[in-house]
Amino acid sequence: MDIPDKDLLAPGHRGCAGCGASIAVKLALNALGKNTVAISATGCLEVMTTPYPETSWEVPFIHVAFENSGAVASGVESALRIQGKDDVNVVAFGGDGGTVDIGLQSLSGAMERGHNMLYICYDNEAYMNTGIQRSGATPYGASTTTSPKGSASFGEDKPKKNMPMIMAAHGIPYVATASIAYPEDYVKKVKKAAETKGPAYIHLQQPCTTGWGYASEKTIEMGRLAVETGSWILYEIENGDFEITYRPEERKPVKDYISVQKRFKHLDEEQINKIQKYVDAHCKELGL
Amino acid sequence: MIIHDKCMEEKLMIEIRFHGRGGQGAVTAAELLAKAAFKDGKYSQAFPFFGVERRGAPVMAFTRIDTEPIALRYQIYNPDHVLVLDDGLLNVVDVFSGIKDTTEVIINTKTFEGSGEHTVNSIDATGVALDMLGRNIVNTIILGYFAKKTQIVSIESLLEVIRETFPGKVGELNVEATKKAYDMG
């Protein structure tokens, strides 16, 4: 992989030790290069990288609110293009909350209108910025502060919203899933998205040490386990053509992935089996 | 409304109320009249009774014409002229509401003769419209008749505005129909 002389997300940011979001953004920016304008939804990323008067961004950056990064990016993209700046990459980042929940309408509008931009959802599967509340991307069984385990609850009672397929249904030219644990695959997809004329969407799984409950050194390992167990599947949909971009040699049991995270610690065998069945069905559906 | 009447008198403002049904072009008629008066060198204003009614429902529109700039910004309650685009409305709304002794009323009808209480002029605008336009859109026709009867706007300005508003063949057909109605006045 190409290593740049200088990262476009500077150190000194306030991300947790072992933060996956900063890895996600660093890799994306390095793939896109300096000729890029970044937009961010409110969330961990924005708060930890822009505490006035400091910024970690080496590229132009704008943040407005939580639910509107799709629309803000639409405005930025339109303004750049009308000024003849056709070669500038426009990339928007949103967490899972800002993407699959509160920002869905704004993002859907942006995708539908065909702006030449890339939207990256860095999905850590809950509202981490405010202290681990569930989102539409929180997986089945995960305990969060708003989907807690309890005497009458085993945690989140609904599976994760299938956001990449919702984006694909917009008929946009490029949709992909990715993981920070597979940087070459991710970077390749970011570059492909940047070259795509029109809207592109990448749904990136990004483990979170604080929210998931694992030791900080295991951020990449968690991402790898998600993919190796089939809990997160790497694929791309290019002009409607679906393709799996990484196939584990042998799919590991889901238990290997969830038993090492605090958010799933409370689950019993029956519930784990249920998750295994759900993962099996999803893998079958996508041909993994 | 004593104050209102007095100001009318002194400023010689003319207030016109249109009654029609949604889709018949009453609002457009009010605007065409305002634009024609403006072309004649007068000040004018036109606005609809702002409703949520859909096609077919009774609607109102208003025009004010004056030799001075118009400041009044409320609906017309005591019109000097009333134009009724559809005689079917006579059974549904009180088109004579608030009219004065001097108010002149023009109704698109074949049958209505008036009650003798008010000055009522009838024109079979629908007949003209079906004959010349091929459909029952009477707004320009009734304006042609109004122009002749009242001499408030010139036929030249009215025809010019109709041409500007409806370019092409539709405009020319409307111009011919309006001329015909003018001659009937």
């Binding site: 300096k34 890029t36 304008v37 937009i39 822009t50 505490p51 006035y52 008067p53 910024t55 961004w57 080496e58 590229v59 132009p60 950056f61 704008i62 943040h63 407005v64 609110a65 639910e67 509107n68 799709g70 629309a71 803000v72 990016a73 639409s74 405005g75 930025v76 339109s78 303004a79 750049l80 009308i82 000024q83 500038v88 309408q105 704004s106 859907s108 509008g109 209108r113 | 409304m1 104050i3 209102h4 007095k6 100001c7 605007e31 305002a34 634009k35 403006f38 000040y43 004018s44 204003q45 036109a46 606005f47 609809p48 702002f50 118009i70 400041a71 009044l72 910004r73 409320y74 609906q75």
Partner: protein, 381 residues
């Protein structure tokens, strides 16, 4: 310069065409809709060289406007009522980010009950967002104020967005003669927007919309207060420049026959036209009465108001909005800043027609007051 009969919505669209914004994100809503339609057509016909963003909501309209303005171009958007309410959050963000957006609001009542007619509760509810608010009386003023709004907002001593407020239907759907300035004169008055404080350019990366903690936030908000205060002088200067080129003179306030008046009506927007006619009528009857039209509601021109009303006995403030337990918002502001005998009147909510009789009633109730705040035209049963 040409003169045409048109609605205030068309007049706003004409002003936008002349101001040459480069990005126009707009979402239709009654009674603003025809603005969005005219602008779409102008872009389709290449009368404006702009990107028209067909956003899916007002929230996205204002968000895209902030994004585009942040990227360094002149921007226009327009809305009304529920749409403005949906924008509420981002209105504050736009002002705080100091992006000089111009927005036209077709004033309309707020739900519930659902109502599409005119009052000014929608924009009044945004009074603390940090936007300049200009209330216009007719279509000509709507056009002129839109042009001036860009020049005022883009002034480096201001850099706050502007809202041009025009009464729904009463102005937006009423045709009347309007002078349309020529492009050359407008270009002279309003040069292209050249942002210095914020723009998105890879050659000069900056971070816009940062996170400010307890050490900085209050200063940032205080700076907005200073900018709002600065805008008073900028508005005056801009009005002078406008008058010089286009011959029409506006101010922060517009007094009418107030010099020797005992009672002065205070009002905003289209209502002022009818009030002026009533002032003339009352004057003929020997009543010493005048009108103070407030054009700029934010910034609130305290000194200019004081100057106009200094010798009068009483003020009759007419609001097309209200704040619970207080009266109208304009009334409340006047009570706070003006040391006079002031009476408040709530009128015209949800499009109830304000007739000469309504204004006469207000006059009588100011002459012989029975209470501080009176709702006008309430049906008895």
């Amino acid at each position: 310069m040409i003169k045409e009969v048109m609605t205030a919505n068309k007049a706003v669209a004409e002003a936008v065409r002349l101001a040459k914004p480069q990005v126009i994100p707009v979402y239709p809503i009654t009674p603003q809709t025809t603005i969005s339609e005219y602008l779409a057509q102008y872009v389709a016909d290449e009368k404006i060289d702009a990107k028209y963003i067909k956003v899916e909501s007002e929230h996205s309209a204002i968000s895209a406007a902030v994004g585009a303005s942040g990227a360094g171009v002149r921007v226009f958007t327009a809305t009304s009522s529920q749409g403005l309410m949906l924008m509420h959050e981002i209105l504050f963000a736009a002002a705080g980010m100091r992006v000089p957006i111009v927005l036209a609001d077709a004033n309309r009542a707020i739900s519930a009950p659902l109502n599409i007619w005119n009052d000014q509760q929608d924009s009044i509810a945004q009074r603390d967002a940090g936007w300049l608010q200009i209330y216009v009386e007719n279509a000509q003023e709507a056009l002129d104020s839109t042009l001036m709004a860009y020049k005022i907002s883009e002034n480096s001593n201001v850099l706050l967005p502007s809202m041009v407020c025009l009464d729904g239907f009463i102005l937006t759907h009423t045709v009347e003669p309007v002078e349309i300035p020529d492009q050359e004169s407008v270009d002279k008055f309003l040069p292209p927007y050249v942002p210095e404080h914020a723009f998105l350019d890879p050659n000069e990366p900056m971070t816009i919309g940062s996170f400010a903690d307890t050490n900085y936030y209050i200063e940032a908000r205080h700076d907005m207060e200073i900018a709002m205060n600065n805008s008073i002088e900028v508005i005056k200067k801009t009005c002078d420049e406008f008058a010089e080129i286009f011959g029409r003179k506006y101010g922060l306030v517009d007094p009418y026959k107030t010099e020797d008046a005992d009672i002065i009506f205070v009002a905003m927007g289209s209502l002022c036209s009818t009030v002026r006619v009533i002032v003339d009528q009352l004057r003929e009857n020997g009543e010493k009465v005048g009108l103070l039209k407030i054009r700029a509601y934010r910034p609130f021109p305290v000194e200019e108001i004081k100057e106009v009303i200094k010798d009068c006995e009483k003020l009759a403030v007419i609001d097309k909005n209200f704040t619970f337990g207080i009266g109208g918002a304009l009334y409340a502001d006047m009570k706070v800043k003006i040391d006079k005998e002031i009476y408040g009147f709530i009128a015209g909510l949800g499009g109830r027609d304000i007739t000469p009789d309504s204004i006469m009633e207000i006059y009588e109730k100011t002459k012989e007051p029975v209470q501080d705040v009176t709702w006008i035209g309430l049906k008895e049963e």
